[in-house]
């Protein structure tokens, strides 16, 4: 059995977060009644003309600068000609020979802690098509052109990834980046961020690339991983059975967890690209690029480095906290209130908060516990008002909407007992009630100490300061 190497390249379509469309003034808002957000330009009516939305150019440059790519000084919009009912003009306005963003690269973190550079071949601007609605109609197809003309940035990678996991790491990295740059909302359910995967296999050590299949329109990272894994296995099985991989477009069916052939290369369109005579070439000056570079927010990679070196966070925590702009923003909001508690904040966010959010299937943006609320709780631990254990109880109450940390601590009487007299009273009570265990301890059985601590904490309903308990208990048992 030969060993096989997987080769993957991704084409990512990121919907640019503009208010209006790329070539018209119609709104891009998601979820409106069909065809209510399509003007004469989006409908491809006779005589109307596209006018470029300048904001999309800025957004594309932002992306290009963020991945250190070459920005094309004069890029050109081209027409990609094909007939489809949801493509109103009979051509899509895209960029072909001269895309706005040229070669760049991106570093991804692998599971073993290593990092890897993935090349970005290009990124170009184009308009989205509308939607064909097959389900709502019998013997007919409905067309919704609300999405027609929505701006997309298509980001094309080099075939640099060698496993589904690497592909997912790269896709996530791009996903994070476009959200940091505020050029895409990253909403995969609504189709604002979708991937096409070019997958091929070749015998290990072979230079020449195998024939690739393109899996279209994958809209979740989980599906991306599963689709690639299925496709890799399918290709290997096919070749090992003496078959040949066909160059074709395939569709991933998440219900059956398989990819299916959509159309072969022979059936593929000849798009007859040519420069769109209705649009001027897009000229970008060095000044434009510098102005945009200066306006960029701190990027995830810079943030990650800063968290490690300045805040002393672990690589792992820094990676997770910078994994999305929303998480990083949440973290930094909390940190602003308590600059010395960075690792405690990190642990709370990545531990209890993430756990609760995942369980409730909520985004951190929609967390019922805000960063300001969380820091109040962490502060109470730091100033010994409550113990870590009680804090978890307070957190749950906060999650249930019972109020702020202080209010809950007050209402439920959870304040830690630090008064020596009160603790001593409880200790005396416990010692008196357990003479056998006292004997054992005095006979040298250190382990019994834990039993006493447990009993004392139980008596105090967890409120006794554990440090104080330990210290006083030893004295009493001597």
């Amino acid at each position: 059995m030969a060993a096989w190497e997987t080769v993957i390249g991704l084409e990512i379509h990121a919907q640019l977060a503009t208010k209006s469309k790329i070539f018209s003034a119609a709104s891009t808002a998601f979820g409106s009644e069909p065809n209510t957000q399509a003007c004469a330009v989006d409908l491809g009516f006779p005589g109307v003309l596209p006018v470029l939305n300048a904001e999309v150019v800025n957004m594309a440059i932002k992306f290009g600068v963020a991945i250190d790519a070459k920005i094309t000084p004069v890029s050109v919009f081209a027409r990609k000609n094909y007939f489809y009912p949801d493509l109103p003009k009979g051509y899509q306005i895209s960029q072909f020979e001269l895309p706005i963003v040229g070669q760049g690269d991106l570093s991804i973190s692998l599971e073993d802690g290593q990092s890897k550079i993935v090349g970005v071949t290009r990124a170009h601007l184009e308009e989205d098509a509308g939607k064909s609605l097959h389900e709502e109609f019998t013997d007919q197809t409905g067309i919704d052109l609300n999405r027609a003309g929505t701006p997309l940035l298509e980001i094309v990678s080099e075939p640099d990834m060698r496993s589904a996991k690497e592909a997912v790491a790269y896709a996530r990295k791009i996903h994070t980046l476009v959200q940091y740059l505020e050029i895409c909302d990253g909403n995969m359910q609504e189709g604002s961020f979708r991937c096409d995967a070019n997958v091929s296999v070749r015998p290990m050590g072979e230079e020449k690339l195998g024939t690739r299949a393109e899996i279209k329109n994958i809209n979740s990272f989980r599906f991306l991983e599963r689709a690639i894994n299925f496709e890799v296995e399918r290709q290997i099985d096919l070749i090992e059975d003496g078959g040949k991989v066909a160059q074709e477009t395939r569709l991933y069916d998440s219900d059956k967890d398989e990819t299916r052939s959509m159309r072969s290369k022979e059936e593929a369109n000849d798009y007859r690209y040519f420069p769109d005579p209705d649009l001027l070439p897009v000229a970008v000056t060095d000044d434009d690029i510098e102005r945009i570079r200066a306006s960029l927010p701190e990027l995830p990679e810079q943030k990650r480095q800063r968290y490690i070196s300045d805040l002393g966070l672990s690589d792992y925590n820094a990676e997770l906290l910078t994994g999305s702009r929303d998480i990083a923003d949440y973290f930094e909001q909390a940190l602003a209130k308590a600059p010395t508690l960075s690792s405690q904040i990190a642990n709370w966010i990545l531990g209890n908060l993430t756990g609760a959010l995942n369980k409730a299937d909520l985004d951190i943006k929609d967390s019922p516990i805000s960063a300001v609320m969380l820091i109040e709780l962490i502060d109470r631990i730091a100033d010994n008002t409550i113990s870590g254990k009680i804090a978890k109880q307070v957190f749950d109450a906060m999650w249930q909407g019972e109020g702020s940390a202080d209010a809950i601590i007050e209402a439920q009487g959870l304040k830690q007992i630090t008064d020596s007299g009160a603790i001593e009273a409880i200790i005396d009570e416990v010692i008196a009630a357990n003479p056998d265990q006292v004997e054992q301890f005095r006979a040298g059985k250190e382990k019994v100490l834990g039993f006493f601590v447990g009993q004392i904490m139980k008596q105090s309903k967890g409120k006794a300061n554990p440090g104080k308990v330990n210290q006083l208990l030893r004295d009493k048992l001597k």
């Binding site: 006779p46 027409r79 040519f274």
Partner: protein
């Protein structure tokens, strides 16, 4: 019915007649003669009278603008809100745009009156107006002959006195050639001077709107309203529009007029040549300096044009698919059937021929050899003119190689039809402005003199034409309407 725009302006201002009266006169003439000439696809009588009435009120209240109450006809390539815009095609026989083209908006803003929409070659593809779904247009000078195309309806309407002026579009000569064949004055401005918004596209990098009128003076008035930057057309150019009418008073002593030797070579009819030579003599008398020049790449202009224009049209016409508007075939069995039959039924022969040729020129493996090559030669053609304009101010020559030919004469020979545009096409490829003005007659039919200007030099071009018209009367001759 042979008033010029400036005469109508004066008449309205002096209250010699009202807008309703003059509009009614034209509508009556249209009723009488349009059946024979067929220059209108739609006559918007009710709308015209309504607009005329409103214009009269404006005039009465002392708020008249330059074109208030002036009746005009518009080529059916310009979208008109609420009025059918067919583009001469069965494909759009049922199409009513919910918007106005920018130039229509401009004319409306000046309270002009729309008499109707004029006939044209389908999708502006043709040089004889024989390709219209709405029937051929007769040349008012000889009803057995073509009026030229594609703006044949507009040229014929002005020549026949069925409109004092009309709009047109010019992709390869579609204003200048019919102007020449019908004996009227027409100007194709610099590419980007007039907005293309709402003008149904044929060859987007070549199309340009402009006016037809009896005189250069009228063309100046109309172009004033049509020209200007439009943010809805990215290819329209931000450049102030000069006052064209005031530039008409300059004498042309010392004006350098270039005669391209390639325009007087084989293929030019002797009768046309002699009229053009007389016109050039007239310019000599007016004090112009005549200089022979060369535009060596002229011979490539037709093949280059037919690659570029057809490539663009093959893509531009893809939107006519029977899905959202326009002609849709009866009971399609599936999507492919819907496309194929809607387009096969909706488009005429010439349009289909051009879509096929253009599709071929853009297809994989041929793009470099055709489209890319054509664009390279296009640059050479442009450079020819740039060189020439270093030596001369205006270039002159025949607009067409022959006078109006007989209906049906060239319909079976597309190449011979395409050669009609040999002198006009290179301007569109270069983006330069050009005019055709009546220069005399050959075989009893009008001959057009073409004047070519440098970029955005319409003012000089109009004045050069105007000076000729001040000393000649070819432009005021009209055909006898039976």
């Amino acid at each position: 019915m042979n008033k010029t725009i400036s005469q109508i302006q004066q008449g309205l201002a002096k209250k010699e007649f009202s807008s309703v009266e003059i509009t009614q006169d034209y509508l009556t003439a249209i009723k009488q003669h349009n059946p024979a000439i067929n220059c209108y696809i739609s006559v918007t009588e009710d709308l015209a009278l309504q607009q005329a009435k409103a214009a009269d009120q404006r005039i009465a209240s002392g708020n008249a603008q330059a074109l208030t109450g002036v009746p005009l006809a518009h080529k059916d390539v310009f979208c008109t809100d609420g009025v059918k815009t067919s583009c001469g095609s069965k494909m759009l026989d049922n199409f009513v745009a919910p918007y106005d083209a920018t130039i229509i908006e401009n004319f409306k803003a000046e309270d002009s009156v729309m008499l109707g929409k004029t006939n044209m070659d389908e999708f502006a593809m043709g040089s004889s107006n024989e390709n219209s779904y709405y029937g051929i247009v007769a040349n008012p000078w000889d009803n057995e002959r073509v009026p030229g195309g594609s703006s044949g309806g507009s040229a014929a309407a002005v020549a026949a006195g069925l409109a004092p002026a009309a709009t047109g579009t010019d992709t390869g000569g579609s204003i200048r050639q019919p102007a020449a064949l019908c004996g009227v004055t027409g100007i194709k401005p610099t590419y980007g001077r007039v907005s293309r918004y709402g003008m149904i596209a044929f060859g987007s990098s070549l199309d340009q709107g402009g006016p037809f009128a009896r005189t250069a003076e009228d063309c100046a008035i109309l172009l004033q309203t049509m020209a200007g930057f439009d943010q809805r057309d990215s290819t329209s150019i931000v450049q102030p529009v000069p006052d064209y009418s005031t530039s008409l008073g300059n004498n042309i002593k010392g004006l350098k007029i270039g005669l391209p030797k390639e325009y007087f070579a084989e293929g030019l009819d002797a009768g046309v040549a002699s009229v053009i030579e007389s016109a050039i003599d007239e310019y000599r008398k007016l004090g112009a300096e005549i200089i022979e020049i060369s535009l060596p790449n002229t011979k490539f202009s037709i093949p280059v044009y037919y690659v570029v224009a057809l490539a663009e049209c093959s893509s531009n016409l893809s939107r006519f698919d029977g899905v959202r508007f326009g002609h849709r075939c009866d009971s399609p069995v599936d999507l492919e059937d819907l496309y194929k039959r809607s387009r096969a039924e909706g488009f005429g022969e010439e349009v289909k021929r051009r879509i096929m040729l253009g599709t071929y020129a853009l297809s994989a493996g041929y793009y470099d050899a055709y489209y890319l090559k054509a664009q390279q030669i296009r640059r050479l053609i442009k450079q020819d003119f740039e060189q020439a304009f270093k030596k001369v101010d205006v270039i002159a020559g025949p607009t067409t190689p022959e006078v109006a030919f007989k209906l049906g004469d060239k319909t079976d020979d597309p190449v011979s039809m395409y050669l009609q545009d040999i002198y006009t096409i290179s301007l569109n490829l270069a983006g330069l402005p050009g005019m055709s003005i009546p220069a005399g007659f050959s075989q009893g039919l009008p001959v057009g003199l073409q004047l070519i200007g440098n970029y955005f030099d319409e003012a000089r071009l109009l004045n050069t034409a105007h000076q000729f018209q001040l000393s000649s009367d070819w432009h005021i001759q009209t055909p006898e309407m039976k």
